[in-house]
């Protein structure tokens, strides 16, 4: 069984690597179609000679397939090129901003789970009650409210009206509060809804009734029988969310001037800083792939039907 599980993980990992290669390729070609970096970098006053010279220096005069192969072999050896704009290693530049983004996404996810899961469980256990209606009203509101609007609203209340938190920037826990609420609220709403429906389905199942007939204590019924089954669909949405948060943090980071990858991404695209954009897209793609991989493995751990089917076939 253990060997089967290792095979299951290996197969998933191979598929994940293939996905990353696909992302790298797609990003490379799409970016080359998006406009000439030399023209943008040099500005409107540049002469054709200057543009020609920069094009050669950046290696953009080579045939596309040769550029692609060179890029691929460089990436494999860990060289992601240097930023056109800042004239330094693109990967190092992005890595300086990654910590802040990961911190923000992690805090937002924690906020979403801490709010969403209990709300969903309470709603399901007290279906149709005032609690349920209040929680689901929050879920609809939380999902509908645009995050830039929520950001401004939070700033108005918490920073300007009550002067509790700094409006923008990074560096302290106080700076983290509003951006993570902004980024996590919609996710909390989705998690609450999914948890509620998953719990309702499980609570109405035959095995829960049979377990209840055996007089198992209520806490045990919930923790050992209901939650593991209800977790399966919730884990799926959370997986999608993590990838989305890294992309969605662009708006939040911009509004709160959070020093993360999102802001760097916006400026790099505007300046046609292809190596930096490539690194960021590659990183968020890889993050998405890794998350999905973890979710797949988590599935196998949660649900023996998946784990044992993979092990057998």
């Amino acid at each position: 069984m253990t060997l089967g599980f290792i095979g299951f993980v290996a197969q998933k990992t191979a598929r994940a690597l293939l996905t990353v290669l696909f992302i790298v390729t797609l990003v490379f070609f799409v970016l080359r179609l998006a406009g000439d970096p030399a023209t943008v970098l040099l500005g409107p006053e540049a002469t054709p000679d200057m543009i020609e010279e920069l094009t050669v220096r950046l290696g953009l005069d080579q045939p596309l397939w040769r550029q692609y192969l060179a890029y691929l072999s460089n990436v494999l050896s860990g060289d992601f090129g240097s930023s056109f704009l800042h004239n330094r290693d693109a990967l190092a530049l992005v890595m300086e901003h990654v910590d802040a983004t990961l911190l923000l996404s992690g805090a937002a996810l924690a906020f979403a789970l801490l709010i969403g899961v209990p709300l969903g469980v309470v709603s399901a256990l007290h279906r149709g009650s005032a609690w349920d209606r209040a929680a689901m009203t929050f879920a609809v509101l939380g999902y509908c409210i645009p995050n830039f609007f929520l950001a401004v609203l939070l700033m108005l209340l918490l920073s300007i009206h009550w002067a509790l938190l700094p409006t923008s920037g990074g560096g302290s826990l106080a700076h983290l509060v509003m951006p993570s609420i902004t980024l996590g609220t919609a996710s909390a709403a989705i998690i609450a809804r999914f948890t509620r429906s998953a719990m309702l389905e499980v609570l109405g199942s035959r095995y829960m009734r049979a377990a209840e007939a055996r007089d198992l204590p209520t806490v045990r019924l919930m923790v050992h029988h209901a939650f593991p089954n209800a977790a399966i669909p919730v884990v799926t949405v959370v997986g999608f969310m993590i990838g989305g948060m890294i992309g969605g943090s662009i708006v939040t980071e911009t509004v709160f001037a959070w020093p993360g990858v999102g802001r760097l991404f916006v400026s790099s695209v505007a300046n046609r800083d292809i190596p930096v954009v490539q690194v960021i897209v590659l990183l968020s793609g890889a993050a998405m792939v890794v998350t999905n991989l973890v979710i797949d493995i988590l599935y196998g751990w949660l649900d023996p039907r998946i784990r044992l089917r993979r092990a057998a076939g």
Binding site: R209, A210, A213, L216
Partner: protein, 322 residues
Amino acid sequence: MTQAPILDVRDLSVALLSSTGNLPIVEDLSFEIGPGEFFALVGESGSGKSVSCLALMGLLASHLQARGHAALCGRALVGDGADPRRARSGAAMIFQHATQSLNPVRSIGFQLMETLRTVRREARSTAKSSAIGLLAEVGLANPERLLAAYPHQLSGGMNQRVMIALALAVEPTLLIADEPTSSLDVTMQAQILDLLDKLRRDRGMAVLFVTHDLAVAAERADRIGVLYAGRLVELGDTQDVFSKPLHRYTAGLLASMPRFGAPETRLPALAGSVPLPGAWPSGCGFAPRCVAATDSCRAVHPAFRGEPSHRYACHHPVRQLA
């Protein structure tokens, strides 16, 4: 039945609660089950068999409400002073869909040992050997290996055996079996019935067996109760009910059963169908389909009458009790 009953059901009614008024589903159900007795509750789908069982176990959904009295070994399950959790500790229930009645993400061993440890308060080490013992008792081969298996890896029949083992784990004096063999093939059905019979003899455990299959009831049950449209229409020793049915519904059902060796003729069928809850006639529920129905049948619900060994609810029984 000569000994004092272990299950005593008096005027048990179940109603579906709704904003437009309560809809009766089961009305005035009264019967007793003696220790070690095999009692079959027979009826068509929708007659209220399963709902009655769930009411006894205190497992009704929140939109269903039970009234009346039911007691297991003197402890109230339904009615005044009822503490279903405490009272039903002497009872266990198995269901029609065995595979779906087991938690899909927990191993057989987990579910068995959990029950042994929480209900019987066994230690971890003894729980494992008890679990193996129970799996062997219900006739499963390789019980040690089975502990690590999951419900989806087993057949429906094996899962029903696991469910029975789980039921035995609470050491019940009464096993409520709600159509436990209806989704199994005939061979498996016979094996499960044999198992229930054996456990009943070995453990002195009474069985409340719910079925729509008259043949199974006739073959296995000591006593039988026939449900029609939420009411008990005939109740008695299996022998008496099958050889000398008094209620015209029971008689009609028996006449519609194919008989081995009988000449091949078209079987007589009961005309019409079971009325749905909410559409029950005011008098006898069977009157619209009954050939002997009179105005009094349509007006007044017949009271339960007869002898303790054979009771019926009919104004015009097929024959008079001797």
